[in-house]
Amino acid sequence: MTEQTTIAAISTPMGTGGVGIIRISGENAFSVADRIFKAYSSIKMIDSDGYRAHFGRVFEGEKALDEAICLVFKAPKSYTGENVVEINCHGGIFLTKKVLKLVLENGAVPAMPGEFTKRAFLNGKMDLSEAESVMTLISAQGEQGINAAYNLLEGSLSKKISEINETLLSTAAHISAWVDYPDEEIEDIDNNKMQYIINTAICGISELLDKYDSGIAVTTGVEAAIVGKPNVGKSTLMNLLSGYDKSIVTEIEGTTRDVVEETINLDGCILRISDTAGMRETDDIVEKIGVERSRQKLERAAIIFALFDSSNELTEEDYELIKLCKGKTVVPVINKTDLESKIDKEYIENELGKVIEISAKCGNGYNEFCETVTTILGTKNFDTTSAMLANERQRLCCEKALSSLRDAKSALDCGLTLDAIEICIDDAISSLLELTGQRASEAVVDEVFRQFCVGK
């Protein structure tokens, strides 16, 4: 079987492991990787030899997301027998999922249950005796998938999807009845109404997609890092947020030598917060490693809390930190407001945006801090019982539906005939029905007979 698609999936267990691996397999694996990964050596994966590792960075557009190592396997010398790239990035669900999302946006499709193994077998990478175990494996994973789909049917996501789908189906059925039964006095299709229905569906699906990232923040959490120069009060903030003394707090600079991690729930938003070692030039070997780790954490956190000391003027280290944080998702926080203010607040606001003033020690400004964080992460007012996409496959189905609906909209806007619009709507319905395993044309036909009085 010549597979044309290039597939991708996270191949490490979901959790906070040290390393997350995204595996890409298929003819276009290298070009997909090249679109999001730039090796420091400037070698392109497509030009790389097999069995090579490349150190570099993963980019989202212009923005570097994380440092990573790309392993290149050339067909047929790979697990699946196809071109394979494995992107090893720093672990953590948020980051790994984010890299997968990038991969999927750049030409790969989500792998089906057992698909890597299936391809490995079909490409002759496995012994015949393994065939049956592969079939059993795929079947078992497929069964899980089906159970997941059934669960989906119950939830608020399915309600939301059916809501969108029902209006689309009824529109498709209307067009279809109007077309297939021209003698039956079926009401003409009103362009404005059509526009409204398509726009509403676009909004509904976009909303689901927009919430996808926030949903992850709510369900699985996002990486957050507290950074700042030594003794600015990072650990005090950490303790304030986590509600107990996790980090050892002293007056001595450099007390936190390694990254202290904690999962906290901030108004319903799960943060995996790292309290980092204060960033400064140091000769202490242990502290030096800690500082280096802080930098890494800062690089790949989904949100950064940059701490400044209200009672002192901005130092070289502060300026350095501001430079590092620029362009990232950052909440600038001025701590120690219980002391006399000497800091140039205006400068920070100009560089990093609105500043939150707190006293981590007394707890002043805590509410404002929470409010800002949840607003930035989109989890403020996020209703956890509302419809949420649970995985990449669902997200992709919605993306496909959205793109079909946009085609329908542009066909409608430029005045093309309804047959062209209808096939786009049908495609959108198909993509949404894929989530529940139905087929579009049957659904439309059934709807025609249910709704319209037609026949001779």
């Binding site: 079909l122 079939m135 297939d180 021209p182 430029c414 093309l416 096939i423 786009c424 026949g455």
Partner: protein
């Protein structure tokens, strides 16, 4: 006393729309063929309605013609009125429909069969089918003549154990008062075919003299008539109009008061009726909020005063029918000539068939038309053509020809029937085709004539003409992609009047044709060197240009599906022995026996992981060989 009469390559049972195409295809492909009918005077009868075509059915007729079938030509030769439906709704759904002179159509078909080389037309009722020792089939007529054949095509329509219902009266009958085929059903059951009962119906016919036309809406045919046949030789004219009227609250009242006398509501009929073709009492009950239903009054022929009342199909008692007909404007004094009736008949579960329309378990036995659970003349003819072609190929030991969803409505129809089955009589609809922007009625020849030629049903002469048409299309496309149209006051005025933006610099004509608001005619004054070409050439170029993006979109989907269609599943596969298939998938696959992975993926109850398991199984088998 039984006697041996004759041996044939192919025998077709039934000379309706399916049987005719089957017999002609088989004979034209060089097989010695015989077609049997219960009544020679009604070959190709239209007992249901006097028209051919309509939405998506018109597509089927044009496809049949593009493949060298007869229906389109016969319709063109006997047209009373022609209309292209759905103009303005987009080229994918333009559909041709013609009112047909019923008696002349039948005569045309009978004569065509009679003149066909290799073909015998015989009046006889087949009462028994059985396999002989040399793996042929032996057929017995009611007069005890024995015929043998390598292939037999069942195209029994509504004759098979037919039973007519009018109110509380019911009797064994075929359509239009003909004899039913009562004994064949028992013989087929004995063979083990999965038979079941479906029902259909037809409205009353009234005398033209008794209709008050002065108050009715007139419906005329099109000025520019498009023939069904791409090879039309007839001068088609609109000869007779149709009329429109409506039921009203009085009609509703009469029907509701007498509903208990309908055999459908009293439970006498248990055959499954078509959802799309409900009786008037059905429509009134199911759509209670509708105050009126549209009725078309259609001519049945030039030499008859019978008029067909489309929309008034019913199985209520005769006295109730007369009563409700008289409530309708224009029909107050209508004289009924034939009473509406429902007819129940035996047909087969099409899941027992392959896409070639041969039975999975009965070598050489094919089914076509209503017998396969479909409804409609056009659906029947399409299947007849498929069965006829494949029976002939079987005789000649050639691979069957399978039409695909991606190349035709014919392929979609057959695939739907043999893959998904049907729980009520199956009617074609444009929405059943996911590729309908490609499967347009205007492009049927481009999609299928090369296949028809390869099969041997399209003559070299007609094929040459077709190739010439393709050449003209290609040249014209190239020309419009080069012609530059410059802005002028006249042009810009026209553009603005069509609500599209005026030109600042010259653009290629292709760009203007892409705009939905514009067409070939509007651009004529600005396209000075336009060659003098037939309308259909311009039409093809315009559609190809305007819908280019959407056509490509569908083509991409077809390519995707095609990867699965080429993976063939062996016929003798034992799904119960395949590890990893879910129980439901095993049952469905065993029943449907799909020919390829693509077909398997369309069976409801077969999941993507089942498909993966099948792929692995196929690979395993391949390596084992």
């Amino acid at each position: 006393m039984e006697y041996f009469a004759k041996d044939y390559d192919v025998i077709v049972i039934g000379a309706g729309h399916a049987g005719i195409e089957a017999a002609l295809a088989s004979a034209r492909l060089g097989c010695n063929t015989c077609i049997f009918t219960i009544n020679l005077d009604w070959v190709g009868n239209m007992p249901c309605n006097p028209s051919i075509g309509g939405t998506s059915k018109g597509h089927l007729v044009r496809e049949i013609d593009a493949l060298g079938g007869e229906m389109g030509k016969a319709a063109d030769a006997n047209t009373l009125q022609s209309r292209m439906l759905n103009l303005g709704k987009g080229p994918a759904v333009h559909s041709l429909r013609a009112q047909i002179d019923r008696r002349n159509y039948s005569g045309y078909m009978k004569h065509t069969l009679e003149r066909q080389e290799n073909l015998d037309l015989r009046q006889a009722e087949i009462v028994e089918i059985k396999y002989t020792e040399n793996n042929k089939m032996q057929l017995k007529t009611h007069l005890e003549a024995l015929y043998t054949a390598k292939c037999v095509i069942l195209a029994t329509g509504t004759f098979l154990s037919g039973k007519v219902y009018v109110g509380d009266v019911s009797f064994e009958s075929g359509p239009d008062g003909m004899f039913p085929a009562n004994k064949l059903g028992a013989s087929l059951k004995e063979l083990g075919l999965p038979l079941r009962r479906f029902k259909t119906g037809t409205p009353s016919r009234v005398n033209r003299r008794s209709v008050n036309y002065s108050i009715l809406e007139l419906q005329n045919g099109d000025d520019r008539i498009v023939p069904f046949s791409f090879d039309n030789k007839y001068d088609i004219k609109n000869k007779l109009p149709c009329y429109v009227t409506y039921t009203n609250l009085d009609t509703k009242d009469v029907i509701l008061k007498n509903l208990h006398r309908s055999p459908l509501y009293s439970g006498k009929i248990d055959g499954k009726g078509p959802r799309y073709c409900p009786s008037i009492e059905d429509k009134i009950v199911r759509f209670a909020e509708k105050e009126r239903h549209q009725i078309f009054i259609e001519p049945c022929g030039e030499d008859t005063e019978e008029m067909y009342l489309q929309g008034l199909s019913s199985s209520l008692p005769e006295d109730v029918q007369l009563q409700f007909i008289h409530t309708i404007p224009g029909l107050e004094n209508a004289e009924t000539m034939r009473t509406a009736y429902a007819i129940e008949y035996d047909c087969v579960d099409p899941l027992a068939l392959k896409a070639s329309l041969e039975f999975n378990d009965y070598e050489g036995l094919f089914g076509a038309g209503q017998f396969n659970g479909s409804s409609g003349y056009e659906e029947a003819a399409a299947q007849g053509l498929v069965a006829g072609i494949n029976a002939a190929r079987k005789v000649k030991a050639l691979e069957p020809v399978i039409f695909e969803r991606s190349n035709s409505y014919i392929g979609t129809l057959v695939d739907d029937l043999v893959t998904k089955g049907c729980s009520d009589p199956y009617r074609m609809m444009t929405s059943r085709s996911e590729y309908r922007l490609l499967l347009r009625q205007d492009s049927a020849d481009r999609r299928l004539t090369p296949i028809g030629h390869e099969i041997g049903l399209i003559s070299d002469e007609r094929y040459e003409k077709f190739l010439h048409k393709l050449e003209l299309i290609a040249h014209e496309k190239e020309r419009v992609s080069k012609v530059v149209i410059s802005p002028s006051e006249e042009l810009n005025n026209m553009l603005v009047s069509r609500e599209t933006s005026p030109l600042v610099t010259g653009v290629r004509m292709t760009e203007l044709l892409k705009r939905p608001q514009l067409n070939y005619d509007l651009l004529a004054p600005f396209d000075k060197d336009r060659p003098d070409l037939p309308y259909e050439i311009f039409e093809q170029v315009e559609i190809d240009t305007k819908y280019d993006g959407y056509i490509k979109r569908q083509q991409a989907q077809i390519n995707e599906m095609h990867r699965l269609e080429v993976k063939l599943l062996p016929e003798n596969i034992d799904y119960n022995s395949i590890i990893g298939l879910r129980l439901e998938a095993r049952e469905k696959l065993t029943k449907v026996r799909p020919q390829n992975i693509g077909q398997a993926s369309r069976i409801s109850g077969v999941s993507p992981s089942d498909i993966s398991v099948l792929l692995i199984y196929l690979e395993k088998e391949r390596r084992n060989d």
